[in-house]
Symmetry: C2
Subunit: 340 residues, 2 copies
Amino acid sequence: MSSQPASMRDVAHRAGVSLSTVSRVLRGAPGVAPDVRLRVQRAADELSYVVSRNASGLVTGRTGRVAVVVPFLQPWFFGVVLSGVSDALREADLDMLVYQVGETRAREGWTRALPLRRNSDAVVTVSMDLSEDECHRLDDVGVPVVLVGQCVPGRASVYIDDRAGAAGATRHLLNLGHTRIAYIGARREEWSSTSSRHRLEGYGAAMATAGLAPWSVGKATGHAGGELAMGELLSDQDPPTAVLAEFDDIAMGAHRILRRSGVRVPGSISLMGFDNHDAAAVLDLTTVDQAPYDTGLAAGRLTVGILDGKARTDTHVEMPTQIILRQSTAAPRGARGLST
Amino acid sequence: MSSQPASMRDVAHRAGVSLSTVSRVLRGAPGVAPDVRLRVQRAADELSYVVSRNASGLVTGRTGRVAVVVPFLQPWFFGVVLSGVSDALREADLDMLVYQVGETRAREGWTRALPLRRNSDAVVTVSMDLSEDECHRLDDVGVPVVLVGQCVPGRASVYIDDRAGAAGATRHLLNLGHTRIAYIGARREEWSSTSSRHRLEGYGAAMATAGLAPWSVGKATGHAGGELAMGELLSDQDPPTAVLAEFDDIAMGAHRILRRSGVRVPGSISLMGFDNHDAAAVLDLTTVDQAPYDTGLAAGRLTVGILDGKARTDTHVEMPTQIILRQSTAAPRGARGLST
DNA sequence: CTGTTAGCGCCTTCAA
DNA sequence: TTGAAGGCGCTAACAG
């Protein structure tokens, strides 16, 4: 209604008290008579008054805002993480600023380009896979940083054990009786995140433990890469009986190729993904769940904890992964594994 | 490094000029000697100085921030829209605040609970399907509002023509020669958004034009609903030869049931979705694309335009929809349609 | 318990 | 073209 939104003065006036009293009430500070508190609250309500974080922040030095930096906003994963972060911040009455900075190569200098400096109380990076350099530049911003999907010693990090997840997935296939297990991932030159590296390592380790040689194919990321890689595998003179993909998107591309080629899943080839993508359920894809919502929630709460001085800035939170069994994996034909 | 971030005074000091000069340079205001401008800029760079939006906003009354309100953050759709909004705002150097307010019934009073009032320059709502009441309460906030995915006369809206999209999809199926075309949507009591209503109407209209009676099944939303609805249709004594789903998630659930039941798509039943969900490509699902990224971009730009006084607050932008032909639709067996 | 005072960091007059 | 002064809305010390 009012073209000029009410200010604290208006509330004070209406309640018949001074500015500081209004301030105290609205901040929930102690030392205000109950009846006065009530009167002020009513006055504020009637004027639909909301404290300007701008002005209060100027004094307190806190903005009431947390910046969340993501490379992309489109992939399913980030929305889910953000959802968790958002819920956690809301609990603490903090606002969430979201910055999309694009792929690694294009984001030179985002640490300074973004108005982080005095405009947010903390920075949460999601799957940014920061270099040492970027980390240091973030320090310059002078606010606590929480890394999601990346584990850096000495820094607040929330992440999953990609190695263990991939190893577990590999073991699942091994236990079913598979020995010819291929791994499809993104080509290292295109997308060499730490998580990417760890998953490959986990696969390799599990294979080694089983006394088997690793067999990995690296193509582009996403559906397209999965299609290419699976095409290659199907053209091998002795194709695998099971395939583990670095993430579900890749698995989905592979699935499509298998469907089109008339190769039965899991009849002829078992296929397994990683991430528990939304659509994995639709494809009945066995996969590794990494609970991105919980990760976001944990990251948000850790951020709040750090801001409240209740958590250390070098806290590490490792989120569990979990194998989600669906219809895309089974024992190979004539297996001598668990499926006897 | 400095624990206390540099302030404008520090920059002024370092450049050997006054505060106002620094302010002018950093705002790009005219009336500063080129060499001075340069000197100030260098000083600011060296101190990695960033203007505090908090402080400047206090004076100018503008916060440099736009609030984007979404019901959920997890579904694919919102991430894509946000991505577009983010890019548009970034062009104008505006920050994006994101608020997730939950489902309709749970969001009583979000218009006042959120610190929108003096904390953002504009509000963008995405698929919020605001009631008259909520719209008015938003007016109270006193900032321009842009509605995405909802068309309200007299208010800035960016939306698609759901009716036309659904009608087009139906016509696609009709043209292929189908006559027994069923529609699966979310049950009205669960999710009665305008968009939902319009899609059903579009389907109904196209059927009517073709002289056919509509046949719609309403179940839960999401995969689950699609599964239930398709189950019901498959149990009909004369099942449809084509099915149009209100959105891709539902179509995917239906697809799963068809796959499990051994019903060939599109051999026995053609299946069509709406939205062009990420995973629709993987399932080879014919669908209606509604370009959510472009929608977000348009909404963001419209917001910027309104803030700059270059666009009217009642601008309507209708985004085009487009049929994406994939492998899930074909002429029915023995059709006399286009497929002769 | 309440009110008064002095800034927070910046932009906007106005005067030089 | 530049500098000095005032105040944006609020909080934090202090006084009462």
